[in-house]
Amino acid sequence: PLSSAPLQDIRNTVGNIPMEWYQDFPHIGYNLDGKKIYKPIRNKDELDMFLEKMENPDYWRTVQDKMTGADIKLTDEQVELVQRLQKGQFGDVNFDPYEPAVDFFTHEVMIHPVTNRPADKRSFIPSLTEKEKVSKLVHAIKMGWIKPRKPKDDTPTYYDLWAHEDPNSILGRHKMHVPAPKMKLPGHEESYNPPPEYLLSEEEKLAWEQQEPAERKLNFVPQQFRCLRAVPAYPRFIHERFERCLDLYLCPRQRKMRVNVDPEDLIPKLPKPRDLQPFPTTQALVYRGHSSLVRCLSISPSGQWLVSGSDDGTVRFWEVCTARCMKTLPAGGVVKSVAWNPNPTICLVAICVEQSVLLVNPCLGDKLLYGATDQLLESYEAPEEERVQPVQWVTATTEEHGKGIRLIVQHSKALKQVTWHGKGDYFASVVSDNSNMQVLIHQTSKRWSQNPFRKSKGLVQCVLFHPIRPYFFVATQRYIRVYNLLKQELTKKLMTNCKWVSSMSIHPGGDNIICGSYDSKLAWFDLDLSTRPYQLLRHHKKALRSVAFHKRYPLFASGSDDGTVIVCHGMVYNDLLQNPLLVPVKVLKGHALTLDLGVLDVLFHPTQPWVFSSGADSTIRLYT
C-alpha cells in the first residue's frame, strides 16, 4: 500500500533499482515531469537522532520511504497489518480460514451416477507412447545394446596370486639358475700317505709358516701317517664348511651366455636352379662305337667335332650334332688322354698312347686350316747341333701319315696325361714315374722338350696351363703347386684337404680352380682368397674322375664312379668383394656302371651349355 498521497505528486520514476545508486547524489530520482527529486535535507546528527528517539512518541512507527527519503508515520491500521503478518495470520481481518466444509459430493455410491459419460477410448487401448518406448527397448535388446541381466555366478572367487606373473619370468628364473662352483677335488697332497715329493721339506715348511694365510698355495701342510687308523680328526672341518658356505653366497657368480641360433639360419640362401638356366638337363645323344671304356674326351675349338680315346685302342672322331663317328684311328694301345689343340687356327690333336704322344691331324673342319697345320709341321727345320732331349721326336711314317699321325713324341715311361697351352704351341705331358722326369713341357713348332723340375715333389696326377698368365699348375696327391713359368719359381701351394687328387680344371677367368679327388670331394679354390679350398662339395657318392669348367657359361661339372655327372652353377663375380656363388643344379644320370666304374671324363661344349660325359659302359653321352 502506497503512502497516503501528498499534495504534490512526487512519485519517483527510477523504477525498482537499488537506491544506493543515488547515495552520492543530492537527488534521489525523477518525478513524472523529469525533474529531480531532491533528498530531504537531513542535518540530524547522532545526538539529534537520539533525542528524537527519546522524545518522539511515534518514533517506533516511523519508517523511511526509500524512494523519496521522506519519513512516514505508519497509521494504526498499518501497524495492525504488520503485526498480523508477523504472527503469520492472513492480512485480511475478515478472512476466516476455518469455515465449515460443504459436502457437495457424497462418498456413497449412488444409483444414478452424476455423469453418464462413456469411458474414454484411451482407458482401454494400450498407450501408443508406451508401445513406442517398449518397442525401443525390445529393439535395443535385440540389437544387443541392452543385455538381459546375467544370472549371478555363485562359484566362489579366489584371488590367484600368480595370475599376472609372466610365465617367462618363472622359466627365466629357472634358466637363471647358476650352478655352484665345484670344489677342487682332493689331490695326492691330501692323502694320508702322500708320495714323498708332495711332503714339504723343513725349509718349505718354514716358508709356508711365514707366508700370509691368503698367499699360501696349500692351506694345510701335507702329512704322512703310517696308516689310515693313525689319522687324527680333522680340526679345520667346521671352519672349512663355513668358508665354503661363505663362498657360495658371497661370491658373485656369472652366467655364461649361450646363443641360441637355428643352424638353418646360418646356411646362406641359394637361388633356385631354374633361375640359373641354361644348364644341361636331359640326355640328348649317345655316341656309340667304342668297344671298351672311354677314358678321355676332347672337343674342337669350334665345337663341331669331338674326339674320344678308349681302352679298345682306338681314337674316334665324332660329329657333335649327329653323334656320327667320322673317323676311327687305331692307336695301338690304351689311350689315356686326348687333347684338341685349343688354338682355332691349328687342327691338331695330341693323343697319349702308352709311351708316346701322337700329334694327329684329324683332317676335319676347314680344309685350309688343316692344310696350314700340315704346312706348319712340315716347315720345321732341324737345328744344326744335336740337342740332348728327354724324349725323342719322330716324324710319322707314310703309313702313319695316311692315318693322320704327323709326329710321335716318344717318352721313356708310360704316359698319363697331355694338355695344351692356350696358344697351342706348347703342350705338357705327365709320365707315371716317381722321378723328377714326371712332367715335361714340349714345344711343337721347335720340336723341343724340356723338363721344368729338378726335384720330384710327389706323384704328379695332372698338370694344367693357366689360360692367360704364364702359370703352370701341377697336382700331386694332396697339393696343387702353382709355378710361374717366367720367373721359374713356385708361386703358391694349394692345400686340397683331399686324400688323392684325380683331376683339376681352371676357370676361364684364371682365378678359380676346381679339383676332384678320389675321396669323392670337389674342392673349389679362389686363388685370390686363400690356399685352402673356398668350398668343398661332397655331392658324389664315389670317387670323382673328372671335373670341367665351361668356357662361356658359369657352369662346372664333375663326373664320378657312381655313374652320375653333377652340373653346378659356379658364378665368379668381377667384384673382388663378392665370393663365387656355387649352386648344384642338376644330377645327370645315364651311364651304366661297368667294372665299378661310372663316368670317366666330362667335358663342356665350347659354345653351348651342353656337357659330354664318357663312361665305362663304352658310350659317350651328350646332355643338353
Partner: protein, 422 residues
C-alpha cells in the same frame, strides 16, 4: 550332364542343318562322329559311314567333350559351335629305300627323290624306290641336296657337303648321266644347308663357318677366279676340281655360330636359323639384316609356309615352335608343339595344307602335326630304328623321312586341300 546345345558345321559335302543339338558332355569324337553320320544318313539314304574330326574354337577335340571344354574354359551352358572335318586318314607306308649310309637330306619332286647320304654321294630315286643315279663327287659327307630345275630332258640339282663346297650338277634324264657343272667354293666350313630361290636362278647356302652365301644357279661356261687359288699347289687343285669354280654373289655375315638351316621366304627375303639361338631374316638384294627372332636353344631346322605365313623351327629340345616372321618385336613364339622326346632335327610344312607339318626327331619318330592340336600330333610314324635326320613333304602328298638307320621311308598321304572356312 549335357554339354549345352551344340551346333555343328562342316564342308558342303557333309553339311547338316544348322540346328543346335544337345550332346552328352562325356561324348568323345567317335560319339560325335556317329551322331553326324546318323544325321547324314537321315538326309541321304545312300550315305556311307565317314569318320570325322571335331574342332572347337580352332582346337582339335582329343578327349571327352567336357574335359576339353574345362581345359579351354568354355561354359557348358552356352551353345558351343563345333566344326567337323573329315578325319585325316593315316599316311600309308609306300616304300622303304635302303641306302648305304646315313641319310642326311632328302628332297622330292613329282617324279624323283633326291637324297644326300653320309657315304659322300647324292642319289636319285624314282618314286617307286628304284635307284636311278648315284652322284659321287664330294670328298666328304653330303649334308644337303636341292633340285634347281626340272624338265623332261635335263635337270639341275645341287648338293652341299662337309667338304665346304656346293656342286651344281646337270642330270641328263634320257642318257641318265650326271655332269658337275660348277663347284661353288668359298665357305670355310661344312655347308649344312642350301635353298634355291623362287626364280630358280639363285641359291643360298648356310655353313658351319657362320656365313650365308648367295650364288648364281644358272650354269655358264665361264670360271670365276678364286682369290686364294694362288697359294695352292696348282696341280693339286686341278686334279681335285670337279666342274668350273664358282664364287658367291654375296656373303651375309651376322650369325655368331654355325648356320644350320636356310630358306627363301619370298623372292628377296632369306631366313636363316643358327646355333647362336637366333633366326635371322635377310634382304637378299642388299644383304642387310632385316630382323632377328631370338630363341633360347640351338636351332636345327626351320621351315616356312606361304599358306599360313608362319615359320616353324626345330631345336635342340623337344619343342617345335611357330614364329611369325613379320612380327616386329622379334621373339614371340606363337605356339609350341610338344610331343617329341628328343631333339627335333627337321621340320617341314605341308605344301598344300596351312595347318599341317611334319617333324623328325632324334627319338626315332616322325610326327605329323596339325597346328590346331598342339599337345598331340595327328599321327606318329614310328618306322625308323635310329635317329631321324631329314623329312620332306611333296605337293603330290608324299611324306619322306630319312635317318641314321640308312632307310628312307615314303608315306602316301592324301593331299588334303586346306579346309579353311569349312
Amino acid at each position: 550332364g549335357n554339354a549345352g546345345a551344340v551346333t555343328a558345321s562342316c564342308a558342303r559335302r557333309y553339311a547338316v542343318e544348322d540346328v543346335p543339338f544337345s550332346v552328352p558332355a562325356a561324348s568323345e569324337t567317335t560319339d560325335l562322329s556317329h551322331l553326324i553320320n546318323k544325321l547324314l544318313a537321315a538326309g541321304d539314304a545312300d550315305h556311307k559311314y565317314v569318320e570325322f574330326d571335331f574342332l572347337i574354337n580352332g582346337q582339335f577335340l582329343r578327349m571327352p567333350l567336357v574335359t576339353h571344354m574345362e581345359m579351354e574354359n568354355i561354359s557348358t551352358e552356352e551353345v558351343v559351335e563345333i566344326e567337323y572335318v573329315e578325319k585325316y586318314m593315316a599316311p600309308q607306308p609306300e616304300e622303304c629305300i635302303f641306302h648305304d649310309d646315313w641319310i642326311s637330306s632328302v628332297q622330292a619332286t613329282e617324279e624323283w627323290i633326291l637324297t644326300g647320304c653320309y657315304d659322300q654321294t647324292a642319289r636319285i630315286w624314282s618314286l617307286e624306290g628304284k635307284s636311278i643315279m648315284t652322284i659321287a663327287g664330294h670328298t666328304e659327307v653330303v649334308k644337303d641336296v636341292a633340285w634347281v630345275k626340272q624338265d623332261s630332258l635335263s635337270c639341275l640339282l645341287l648338293s652341299a657337303s662337309m667338304d665346304q663346297t656346293v656342286l651344281l650338277w646337270e642330270w641328263n634324264v634320257e642318257k641318265n648321266k650326271v655332269k658337275a657343272l660348277h663347284c661353288c667354293r668359298g665357305h670355310a666350313g661344312s655347308v649344312d644347308s642350301i635353298a634355291v630361290d623362287w626364280t630358280r636362278t639363285k641359291f643360298c647356302s648356310g655353313s658351319w663357318d657362320k656365313m650365308l652365301k648367295i650364288w648364281s644357279a644358272v650354269p655358264t661356261d665361264e670360271e670365276d677366279e678364286m682369290e686364294e687359288a694362288a697359294n695352292r699347289p696348282r696341280k693339286k687343285q686341278k686334279t681335285e676340281q670337279l666342274g668350273l669354280t664358282r664364287t658367291p654373289l654375296a656373303t651375309l655375315s651376322g650369325h655368331t655360330e654355325a648356320v644350320s638351316s636356310v630358306l627363301w621366304l619370298d623372292a628377296e627375303e632369306i631366313c636363316s636359323a643358327s646355333w647362336d639361338h637366333t633366326i635371322k631374316l635377310w634382304d637378299a638384294e642388299t644383304g642387310h639384316l632385316k630382323s632377328t627372332l631370338t630363341g633360347n636353344k640351338v636351332f636345327n631346322s626351320v621351315t616356312y609356309s606361304p599358306l599360313c605365313r608362319r615359320l616353324a623351327s626345330g631345336s635342340t629340345d623337344r619343342h617345335i615352335r611357330l614364329w611369325d616372321p613379320r612380327s616386329k618385336d622379334g621373339s614371340l613364339v606363337l605356339l609350341s608343339l610338344t610331343s617329341h622326346t628328343g631333339w627335333v632335327t627337321s621340320v617341314k610344312w605341308s605344301p598344300t595344307h596351312e595347318h599341317q607339318l611334319i617333324s623328325g626327331s632324334l627319338d626315332n619318330i616322325v610326327k605329323l602335326w596339325d597346328t590346331r592340336s598342339c599337345k598331340a600330333p595327328l599321327y606318329d610314324l614310328a618306322a625308323h630304328e635310329d635317329k631321324v635326320l631329314c623329312v620332306d613333304w611333296t605337293e603330290a602328298g608324299l611324306l619322306l623321312s630319312g635317318g641314321a638307320d640308312n632307310k628312307l621311308y615314303c608315306y602316301r598321304y592324301p593331299a588334303t586341300a586346306s579346309d579353311i572356312g569349312a
